[in-house]
């Protein structure tokens, strides 16, 4: 009588059929399962997933279906019933696709890749796949260090996916056997095929030089369930050159490119009309830096007037004074009324070390202005365990929070909450050589911070054992892949979800595989040590990163190249005719 779906939580995650979902073309020559290694509500909020889903379906001869990792209750029910995971469109099992493609947005979803493959009937290890099995492809931020996942992934797509995806489709369409397809993929620019790689050829990341010409869907699939980001999104820019030394995205997505206000306004109108969303947000690593904001605001106002659309700006930087200029153009969401700052460190000295170009004065001024405009909640984000950090820097966080509480002239006090995340060193950042603090050291700093924090402040902190695991994955090699497989076989999945994270099973997996997590997380790398990701050319040169690391330790700041001139990060060396493709912001 009852279906499996009648027995699990939130069955709407697994039914598909949403507004604007594409019918699946069973006759397509190239069938791709686009997988997100986390639950539906998270994956449906991911812009890259939306872009690639529509792009593949708009490509002649190709069909794309969506797959999200089933929550443990449904995964267990599928296994107990002896059934395989099927895609949301078309109802095919994963094993029936030509390619199963994963986006890799963060390290803590890695075990979900194995879980998804296994549930879909695809052997988890590349070596165990044969001619009848799909190619397993991965791209996204975490593909830049492919080593930990290379036992499981047949081909990595490095860099922007819009053009690369078309090459991948061609490679699959034009060959028939698994081995011929792998050879074709290995010849595509920006694609790394571990099984066919000689160990030293450099794979250069793909860059979409002109964002205006790049593919962008005119519609989004509109979920039934409320997702994490349930709104229309415009990608106003890609890349950031502020040069924060801990920030991987800031290095990987260079050069900064902008979409023109005219293109964005047309895309925004099309999305609002096709989805019925009442909220439009602007997305970029630093949306406040978008140079065409005034033009875009005017153009959107004209196109969307009377449609009751709220415009929201995420990831506002402390020194972006944009909110006020947008304020009267659209309905602003009064219920949210909170301001988010990420000063990242508690003292100016340490903010100089990490090259976070904001001062406490900036932050306090912006908070004061926001309070005057009616904002009551202030959210602060800081990291602990950054390179060169001292007790004074940790105490500095508490000091900054105290001053934030007392900013208002009147006796009105803002409600302040502080989130503290342990620093995780990432590949292709100046801190890629740095050590992460040990778990006891982080715990000690959090306790110390707690004793100095005013009681009215809400303090959140990330689990240090989760951050250590993230550090192991981010700078890991193939051996970490072995640990990961052992942990997954032991029952680990959805590690990024606090209630699912099982640190003792991970400890167990490290012990059984004889791998020491401290070797990956807590060890400072020698500057001349070969790194697992040396085979990838992410644009910025190793020399620049090394130089930046040394400047960091010395406390020297490096300016944003958009203001201070080219800082020779290496991105344009031998590319783009020696000049970064600067954004063309056309006037309307």
């Amino acid at each position: 009588m009852k279906d499996l779906l009648d027995t699990v939580a939130k069955p709407a995650r697994y039914i598909g059929g949403e507004l604007n979902a594409r019918p699946f073309d069973m006759g397509a020559k190239v069938k791709i399962a686009m997988c997100f290694p986390d639950v539906y509500e998270v994956g449906m909020s991911h812009l890259g997933m939306k872009i690639l889903y529509h792009l593949v379906n708009d490509t002649q001869g190709a069909a794309c279906a969506r797959v999200f990792t089933p929550w443990p209750d449904y995964a267990d029910a599928l296994r107990a019933a002896g059934r395989k995971l099927t895609a949301l469109e078309g109802g095919l099992e994963l094993s029936a696709f030509d390619a199963v493609a994963f986006t890799l947005p963060y390290e803590m979803c890695f075990t979900n890749i194995l879980e998804t493959l296994d549930l879909g009937g695809v052997p988890v290890r590349s070596d165990d796949r044969g001619d009848g099995d799909p190619l397993v492809i991965a791209g996204g931020v975490c593909a830049f260090n492919p080593a930990p996942l290379s036992p499981f992934i047949d081909a990595f797509s490095i860099g922007d996916g819009e053009e690369s995806m078309l090459d991948i489709i061609s490679a699959i369409r034009d060959s028939d056997t698994r081995s011929a397809r792998l050879v074709a993929l290995s010849r595509a620019p920006g694609v790394y095929v571990p099984a066919l790689h000689d160990g030293h050829t450099i794979i250069t990341k793909r860059v979409v030089a002109d964002l205006d010409a790049a593919y962008f869907p005119s519609e989004f699939v509109v979920p039934y369930l409320e997702t994490v980001h349930d709104r229309a999104v415009l990608e106003v820019a890609r890349g950031c050159t502020r040069g924060c030394r801990f920030c991987q995205a800031g290095m990987l997505y260079r050069p900064p490119r902008e979409r023109s206000a005219a293109t964005l306004a047309a895309q925004g109108e099309s999305l609002i009309r096709s989805t019925g969303y009442d909220e439009l947000s602007l997305c970029a690593l630093s949306a406040g830096d978008y140079s065409g904001l005034a033009d875009l605001s005017a153009a959107l106002t004209k196109r969307l007037s009377g449609m009751r659309v709220k415009l929201s700006l995420p990831s506002l930087r402390v020194d972006s004074a944009i909110a006020s200029s947008m304020g009267d153009a659209f309905e602003t969401d009064v219920r949210k009324s909170s301001l988010t700052f990420a000063p990242e460190a508690g003292t100016q000295r340490l903010r100089d070390v990490i090259n976070k170009g904001v001062t406490e004065e900036n932050a306090l001024r912006a908070a004061r202005e926001a309070m005057a405009a009616g904002v009551n909640n202030i959210k602060l984000y800081c990291m602990i365990g950054l390179p060169t950090e001292t007790e004074e820097d940790v105490a500095g966080i508490a000091g900054m929070v105290r001053r934030m509480l007392n900013i208002a002239d009147t006796n009105r006090r803002p409600r302040v909450s502080l989130s503290v995340a342990p620093f995780v060193p990432k590949p292709f950042t100046p801190f890629q050589w740095a050590a992460q603090d040990t778990i006891p050291a982080i715990q000690g700093k959090i306790s110390y911070l707690k004793t100095r924090m005013p009681r009215s402040v809400t303090l959140h902190w990330h689990d240090p054992s989760l951050s250590r695991l993230e550090a192991c994955f981010s700078r890991g090699d193939r051996r970490i892949g072995g640990v990961m497989e052992a942990a997954w076989r032991g029952g680990c999945r959805f590690d990024g979800w606090t209630e699912q994270f099982k640190p003792e099973l991970w400890e167990n997996a490290f012990e059984r595989t004889g791998v020491d997590p401290a070797y990956y997380a807590n060890r400072e790398r020698m500057l001349d040590e070969p790194l697992p990701w040396d085979i990838i050319d992410a644009g910025v040169s190793k020399e620049f990163l090394r130089e930046e690391y040394l400047r960091a330790v010395a406390g020297d700041v490096t300016r944003d190249c958009r203001e201070g001139g080219c800082q020779s990060c290496g991105l344009n060396a031998g590319r783009f005719d020696g000049r970064c493709p600067r954004a063309a912001v056309h006037s309307l």
Binding site: L19, V222, G276
Partner: protein, 221 residues
């Protein structure tokens, strides 16, 4: 002006909850380009009201929503625009204009009819005549605040078994004071027949109001 709109919540979408359905409907109305009216005030919202939330797990053949528009919108135009705007599993069926002072759907609601598929329905079916012949049917209603004994016989208008569908058809009272939920009905029937409580799949077929003292489809009231 106001329109009553009837739509189907298909079997495939039985897992969509009421709040999700509300959001989907609002978005569809926005997509349709129809001039939906909004409330005044600090936090304006669309003037739409459903006759009755459908529980998660149930589908509905004729669910009703009352939408207020700015200015005149005729039913046919509304239906065409909404058909293009609603997702595939929620097809709009009918639209009917009502006057601004027409009673609200929820206030007119009296009864609901259901199609109930149940495991072992054919063996339970034999017990229906005796079940209906009882003067009182005591049942235990379980809620968060505990369980209470109620007599469900007065709330049961009609109960029959449709062999071709292997399903029960039931019409029960559905008012603020007296509502008989179909799962409680099935549980009572199973208890009466001495059978274990069966798994069910429930479809709400139609909502009823009252016209000249008789039950009439709510859409026509």
């Amino acid at each position: 002006m106001r329109l009553f709109i009837a739509f189907e919540k298909s079997f495939a979408l039985r897992h969509i909850g009421h709040l999700d359905l509300l959001r989907v409907t609002q978005r569809a109305l926005r997509r349709s380009g129809l001039p939906v009216a909004y409330s005044q005030g600090f936090n304006p919202h669309m003037l739409i009201a459903f006759a009755s939330p459908l529980p998660v797990g149930q589908s509905g053949r004729e669910e009703l929503v009352d939408v207020t528009f700015e200015g005149y919108v005729d039913g046919a135009t509304c239906l065409t625009a909404l058909k293009a705007a609603m997702p595939p599993g929620l097809p709009p069926k009918l639209a009917r204009a009502v006057s601004d002072d027409h009673p609200k759907l929820m206030a007119m609601l009296r009864e609901a009819s259901y199609l109930i598929r149940a495991d072992g329905a054919d063996s339970l079916a034999a017990a229906v005549p005796a079940f209906l012949a009882r003067k009182e049917i005591p049942a235990t209603r379980v809620s968060k605040s505990g369980s209470t004994r109620v007599d469900i016989r007065p709330m049961l208008r009609e109960l029959g078994y449709i062999e071709a569908l292997s399903a029960f058809h039931a019409r029960v009272s559905f008012t603020e004071r007296e509502t008989l939920k179909p799962d409680l009905l099935v549980r009572s029937l199973a208890e009466f027949a001495g059978a274990p409580e069966p798994d069910t799949l429930i479809e709400r077929v139609r909502l009823f109001g009252e016209k000249q003292g008789f039950a009439a489809p709510l859409m026509d009231c």
